[in-house]
């Protein structure tokens, strides 16, 4: 009796087990392919930039020459442009984004908040090249004819606002970047604020704090790591942003103190010159710029993820 019953049971067990083992390994292979992609990316960037790395060494990062004719290349003007535009953009988008996140998380009724959040998500979904089109046809003329002459007129004595006004410059690029990064600041900050326990607010209000005091002195400090994470996430986005910046930065591979002067960013020079680059050194220099950009964004992104995980328990743990 027992032998009769045991036989089919064990074959069923075996059959389901083999199925599970196969399924597991197939799924594992697909998951591992993501790691493989990352390794491949690093390897290709490293191997592709060999020509430039061997010729220039670390000097590549500190040289400000960019001359395809004499085959001399340096990353400094592009690093400078990338960092300046990104920081300036965050200087604008952080307060705006944090303010909006506070409104959405603390003040707005739930339905309004979710509707507005959806609209802000749409803002993040707009393709970069469309920001570029709008910037080049509407923002650039506005900057050239109105805003920049105004800045120059009142603050022209500062080195920041010297020089001829073209509209295609660091400042315009930063403005475009700030609009593009606001949705990221808002969505992650909002999540961190929502993750703050209700008791924190209630305790502050019970002690007689105003709504703003409870928000600014209790809720925001509680969520500060997540908010900082959102800023870092946006910074990484801004550093790597290509199309919109390429269209308005002015494409001048030199360093200017003035924000009204044309500049260049790493992503922009790769976008502009990669198809025309010839020879191992020229191509290698552009790939090395890509490698530099990759390292910058990876480090900043990793920091952002860790901060976001620490506050919301989300980030890398879940979505």
């Amino acid at each position: 009796m027992s032998t009769v019953a045991a036989a089919p049971a064990s074959t069923i067990g075996k059959r389901t087990q083999t199925g599970d083992v196969i399924a597991r390994w197939v799924a594992f292979a697909f998951a591992a392919s993501i790691l493989l992609l990352a390794v491949l990316l690093v390897y290709q960037l490293w191997a592709g930039s060999a020509g430039a790395r061997h010729k220039f060494g670390w000097g590549f990062l500190t040289s400000s020459k960019w001359n395809p004719v004499t085959q001399e290349f340096g990353a400094l003007p592009f690093l400078y442009g990338t960092v300046v535009t990104s920081f300036l953009a965050l200087l604008i988008s952080t307060p705006l984004g944090l303010g909006a996140a506070i409104f959405l998380a603390e003040l707005a009724p739930a339905r309004l908040s979710s509707a507005l959040t959806f609209l802000i998500e749409l803002l993040a979904a707009i393709p970069s090249v469309i920001y570029g089109v709008l910037a080049i046809f509407t923002l650039v003329p506005l900057m050239r004819t109105t805003i920049e002459p105004f800045l120059k007129g009142y603050f022209g004595y500062l080195p920041l606002f010297k020089g001829v006004v073209f509209g295609l410059d660091y400042l315009t690029a930063s403005l475009v970047l700030s609009v593009m990064t606001i949705p990221f600041v808002i969505s992650v900050s909002r999540e961190s604020l929502l993750a703050v326990p209700r008791e924190q607010r209630e305790a502050a209000l019970a002690l007689g704090a105003t709504r703003w005091e409870s928000t600014w002195q209790v809720v925001v400090p509680y969520a500060k790591l997540g908010i900082l994470g959102s800023v870092f996430l946006s910074l990484a986005r801004a550093l790597g942003e290509t199309m919109a910046v390429t269209m308005v930065i002015g494409n001048d591979p030199s360093i200017h103190a003035s924000l009204l002067a044309p500049g260049y960013t790493i992503a922009a020079i790769i976008a502009n010159e990669f198809t025309e680059a010839t020879g191992a050194v020229y191509t290698g220099s552009l790939v090395e710029l890509g490698l530099v950009l990759f390292c910058l964004t990876i480090v900043i992104n990793a920091m952002a993820r860790l901060m976001i995980v620490a506050t919301t328990g989300k980030g890398s743990k879940r979505a």
Partner: protein, 283 residues
């Protein structure tokens, strides 16, 4: 009321109003952008845009029929590559492993997600353009699929995790094997969320131009299959917008309107899919 209290109350009022103003400002930027695109794009959009090839600079008229088809081709192939890989990888993260390897994959997927798209373009270029000795649609598709995979992986994982544990236990208790449980119970239960994630992922990559600049390049004519340089809408918008010709600018506006319409429709319908009868209670 003493002075101190008046001061605190006015700070409260001012700052709270300010947060509302900031929100309104941000949202109004969206409407400004859409309004501007509709205003300029609608005037430039005509039937030729959808049916004709681009003309050389200086000639009036023409369209971007090849770029529209090219975009669908490039994004379609990217989806064919990226969606299955991302989907199965997501299943692995959610269903098979909860230890070090899964956390590593998760973290790397998030980092890949944050990599500038232009760097992804460099990867596809060195993998495919160099070895095939020429720009091709397939290289562009690979670049876009590299961007799509981490998005779909994380979304799939997220929505599968929201499937209640009791459903899995129920299926297992009835004697289903683990993979049978996943295929017939877990994935169907999370399918709406996964679909949403996939639509959003495709919407995101279909607007990308940076990774296509030196992979699928561009083409003024009909492409010659997936091994040839192929026009795409975003790259077309870029080349037309930075050109010096008014008629090309007009075309850029029209193309911008078409692209944003596609992206917005995808985003809104994804939201709709999710809102209509979500199959899983959201956590």
């Amino acid at each position: 009321m003493n002075k101190r209290l008046i001061w605190r109350k006015s700070v409260n009022a001012v700052m709270l109003t300010l947060t509302g103003v900031f929100t309104a400002l941000t949202v109004s930027v969206l409407f400004l952008i859409l309004g501007c695109l509709v205003y300029n794009g609608a005037a430039a959009l005509d039937w030729n845009f959808f049916t004709k090839l681009p003309l050389s600079p200086g000639e009036l008229g023409g369209g971007m029929a090849n770029a529209i088809v090219g975009s669908f081709e490039i994004v379609g192939i990217a989806a064919l590559i990226g969606l299955p890989i991302g989907f199965v990888a997501g299943i692995y993260l959610s269903e098979f492993d909860d230890r070090y390897f899964a956390s590593l994959v998760r973290f790397v997927a998030d980092l890949l997600n944050g990599i500038p798209s232009i760097v992804v373009g460099l990867l596809a270029w060195s993998l495919l353009v160099v070895s095939m000795k020429g720009f091709s649609a397939i290289a562009g598709s690979v670049a876009l699929s590299v961007m799509l995979i981490p998005i779909v992986t994380r979304q799939t994982e997220q929505f599968l995790r929201e499937v209640p544990q009791s459903l899995r236990e129920g299926a297992l208790a009835l004697g289903a094997s683990k993979w049978k449980t996943i295929v017939t119970v877990v994935v169907p239960a999370g399918s709406k969320g996964i679909m949403t994630g996939m639509i959003l992922g495709i919407a995101r990559i279909s607007g990308e131009s940076a990774p296509l600049l030196f992979t699928s390049l561009n083409n003024q004519f009909w492409g010659g299959g997936i091994t040839q340089p192929t026009a795409s809408l975003p790259v077309m918008i870029y080349t037309h917008a930075i050109s010096a010709f008014d008629d090309w600018h007009r075309q850029a506006w029209a193309a911008g309107l078409v692209l944003i319409a596609l992206v917005l429709v995808a985003n809104i319908s994804a939201r709709y899919v999710l809102a209509r009868g979500i199959s899983v209670p959201r956590g």
